[in-house]
């Protein structure tokens, strides 16, 4: 089940005839590791060693402020939110067996799963859940999930296993906010020095920026899981080192194979690629409040310049899907409109806007694999339409310096979200990351109504309307949804494609097993 997509993948890539062919032939000629040993049926026991991209001395075990990938992987191993996104990006119960709105959706009640316990054996109580959300939204030290809980008025104990979230306005999608990985439930007396949660793995030890080790949580509520006795997460700051570690057998799985290297890695008989379609997106951001982007014709012209298929092919080595300036592809209401490259119309629009010889500076940075390449390909395409785009490359720290959110023409990256939660993060004036400074009165009205609209049909219509507006007037140029490609040894089983945009089955290593 895992090997099939990977195998067809490399075949397709080989037929595509990329420049990497020589390298594949060379490496294949050298002979990879000994014959592949397949994972077989699920089995218990063993150690799973995983190489994870990023991290450093500022690594944290704090469930509510994970920043780098290794932080997220640790968070998802140790802690669990009330509900969570599964591999298909649908909401599933986790610590709560149910999360239901009251009529009017001005309050939601979560029922804690019966018999669920923390790593130290204590049962999860409503008090723990209340304390968790007080910790996240602490006004003196708000955690990374806090911004989406602006509508949370109060949270109270409502029964032996019930917790009630009282909201300042109706919110029919409040359960989606609870599902973020940065909302893991912790005991009321939580101390980050003693990281206790309900996750499948218990904390054992770690050295920041290097490695962390976990052992099975025997009282875990899902039957049979986790399969492995021990989990080791190893930080890698460098792509080559991570891939070498996999090829030399020092780790069992790695996240984020650079898309240009998938052929080489996939040509090893003992290695399986794990390719996931995701709703992640790498937009070019135009600030709609400054010249020349304040003219919608300029924004539309710049969007028409993008050859999206070509960008997906060149930037992502074909591993992804073209996008048309809208995010949230897995939202049931996703519009999926059409916008083909049209240099003729782009030129006309620019002339109409009085800017026939437009010259711009695009700020780019390796904030995510593919961003710099995307800027380069796009700049080349723009030249054909008479738009001169100079690239200003900065390092990631500079990119996220105090100028972040101020760049006029830059880039960004986001993971999978549905439309309303994403708009609340990036397209509303009060959103914490409104990169495009988008302040469209009609749009805001539609989103506000959609956020509190109880009728599902009416809400769907509003979400579609919001997308139409953003498609016509928004400040994002969204050219593609990159696939996520991870790799693991053939003897690792249980890892499946996952839509969240997080690597290796959403970093849920409880699902993985290793054959002896």
């Amino acid at each position: 089940m895992i090997s099939t997509p990977a195998a067809s993948f490399s075949r397709r890539r080989l037929l595509a005839g990329a420049a990497g062919l020589g390298a594949v032939a060379l490496l294949a000629g050298c002979g990879g590791p000994a014959a592949a040993r397949d994972a077989g049926p699920p089995r218990r026991g063993g150690v799973l060693r995983v190489g994870v991209t990023g991290g450093g001395a500022s690594d944290t075990l704090d469930p509510h402020s994970p920043a780098a990938n290794p932080d997220i992987a640790r968070t998802l191993s140790l802690y669990e939110p009330l509900v969570h996104w599964d591999d298909a990006y649908t909401l599933q119960p986790a610590v709560a067996e149910a999360v239901r709105p009251e009529p009017g959706a001005r309050a939601w009640t979560a029922t804690i799963r019966a018999g669920i316990t923390f790593h130290d054996g204590r049962p999860v109580t409503p008090d723990d859940v209340v304390a968790t959300f007080r910790r996240i939204t602490d006004p003196d030290d708000p955690k990374s999930g806090a911004s989406q809980f602006g509508i949370l008025d109060d949270i109270v104990v409502a029964g032996d296993r019930e917790v009630r979230f009282e909201l300042t306005e109706p919110s029919p999608v409040f359960d989606q906010y609870l599902a973020e990985y940065s909302c893991g439930i912790v005991p009321a007396d939580f101390d980050v020095e003693n990281p206790i949660g309900t996750g499948a793995f218990k904390f054992e030890s770690w050295s920041p920026g290097q490695q962390s080790a976990f052992v099975r949580h025997d009282g875990y509520w899902r039957p049979d899981e986790p399969y492995v006795d021990r989990l080791e997460l190893i930080n890698f700051s460098e792509d080559d080192a991570r891939i070498n570690a996999l090829l030399s057998g020092q780790v069992d799985a790695i996240d984020q194979v650079p898309l240009s290297l998938t052929e080489v890695v996939g040509s090893y008989e003992s290695i399986r690629l794990l390719t996931s379609e995701t709703g992640a997106w790498l937009p070019i951001t135009m600030r709609v409040d400054v010249e020349p982007f304040d003219d919608v014709r300029v924004r539309q012209a710049l969007r028409l310049i993008a050859g999206r298929e070509q960008m997906v092919n060149q930037v992502l080595s074909g591993l992804g899907a073209p996008a048309v300036d809208l995010y949230a592809r897995f939202d049931p209401e996703y519009l999926d409109p059409e916008r083909e490259q049209d240099l003729e119309r782009a030129r006309d629009l620019l002339s109409a806007a009085g800017r026939p010889n437009l010259s711009l500076e695009l700020v780019t940075s390796p904030i995510q694999a593919g961003t710099v390449e995307a800027a380069q390909v796009y700049a080349t395409q723009a030249r054909a339409a008479g738009v001169e785009i100079g690239l200003r490359r900065v390092d990631t720290s500079t990119f996220f310096s105090d100028q972040y959110l101020q760049w006029e023409f830059a880039q960004s990256f986001w993971n999978t979200r549905n439309y309303i939660p994403q708009a609340s993060q990036s397209s509303m004036p009060e959103a914490p990351f409104n990169e495009t400074h988008w302040e469209d009165a009609e749009y805001q009205g539609v989103i506000r109504r959609a956020r509190s609209e109880l009728d599902a049909t009416a809400r769907a219509a509003l979400v579609r309307r919001a997308q139409e507006i953003e498609f016509d007037r928004g400040g994002y140029l969204i050219w593609g949804f990159p696939d996520r490609v991870d790799a693991h040894q053939a003897y690792v089983g249980g890892l499946v494609p996952n839509r969240t945009g997080l690597s290796l089955s959403g970093y849920e290593f409880r699902k993985a097993w290793v054959s002896a």
């Binding site: 190893i234 080192a241 057998g249």
Partner: protein, 320 residues
């Protein structure tokens, strides 16, 4: 002679002081600010403000320099912004790990390089000599990154799979607990250092072997071995020590690249991480450590040169 050595020592200290100023100025020029770099995309104005104050970034630069220098002199390297703990705590194990790489490399490459150089010098013009000279020239031309990648392909991933390609230490476990992980990083560094020293040894020894006093010794009928060891070799100690020192000093910097490639948990990796995090105190500490090592090794080479040079040794009247 003692005066000369003391003078060198004083100069070294002055150099370090200037370097400390340069380091401090350079870290001020790093774009972006530490608070935002640490918080990344999660930076909200309140969190940035709190962290900025916590890190003391609101104080004037000269004040920060003086208090930093004062700390360095008393052994206090300050607080790391990224870990929120003392820098010395963060670096302790890493300095030991890097020092291990350097010491192993020096221990292996020095005798090998000197022996190979002497061997080539005494066989000038033969095929072994030209083979040795040729291969050392090729190796000297390759950057350490390329050598490292080639070794990984050869011994760890593609051709043979007999050595680990990266260093993975369990939490709390020192790097030397799994010695096989040290082989490729040390080998890479050694292959970078050896060629220069081989070439320098061969050149200076050849020059000495051609000199008049060696011919005189030969004419006096001394055995070739005595001529080599008693007359020719002492003349090469000064220049070879200089090259050796330069190479070892270079190692302190080259280790950054090699640690990056092999995921070796030393100061090089810490430096890259600290630069990315704008963890200024850590960047300053590591750069100063590397600079101090550089100065120290050069000082040692100078002293070795002074001690080895019979003219200086005898002109100053003492020393024997």
């Amino acid at each position: 002679m003692t005066k000369m050595i003391l003078k060198r020592l004083l100069v070294s200290l002055l150099v370090l002081l200037v370097v400390s100023l340069l380091i401090f100025a350079a870290t001020l020029l790093l774009p972006g600010d530490p608070a935002r770099a640490i918080l990344g995309q999660q930076a909200t104005p309140e969190r940035v403000a709190a962290l900025t104050e916590q890190l003391g970034l609101d104080r004037p630069a000269w004040e920060r320099y003086l208090s930093w220098l004062g700390g360095v002199v008393t052994g206090d390297l300050g607080f790391s912004a990224a870990t929120q703990g003392p820098v010395s705590e963060l670096l302790g194990g890493r300095i030991a790990a890097s020092a291990l790489l350097l010491v192993l490399t020096a221990l292996i490459s020095t005798p090998v390089a000197l022996a190979l150089g002497a061997w080539a010098a005494t066989r000038r013009g033969t095929r072994t000599d030209s083979m040795l000279s040729g291969s050392s020239l090729v190796l000297a031309a390759l950057p350490e990154f390329v050598i490292g990648v080639l070794l990984v392909v050869l011994f760890a991933t593609s051709v043979l799979q007999i050595l680990p390609s990266v260093t993975i230490a369990r939490p709390g476990e020192p790097v030397w607990a799994r010695p096989e992980q040290l082989v490729l990083p040390v080998l890479t560094l050694a292959l970078v250092v050896i060629p220069y020293v081989v070439r320098m040894t061969r050149a200076t020894l050849s020059e000495a072997l051609d000199a008049g006093f060696v011919e005189m010794a030969r004419l006096k009928g001394l055995p070739e071995r005595t001529v080599l060891v008693r007359h020719a070799v002492p003349h090469t100690i000064g220049p070879v020590a200089q090259v050796l020192a330069l190479q070892l000093a270079w190692l302190a910097g080259g280790v950054v690249v090699v640690e990056f490639l092999f995921r070796y948990p030393g100061i090089g990796q810490a430096l890259i991480d600290a630069v990315a995090n704008r963890d200024v105190q850590v960047v300053q500490a590591i750069t100063l450590i590397i600079a101090a090592f550089y100065v120290l090794v050069n000082l040692a080479a100078d002293v070795a040169g002074i001690l080895a040079d019979p003219r200086i040794r005898h002109a100053s009247g003492g020393g024997a």
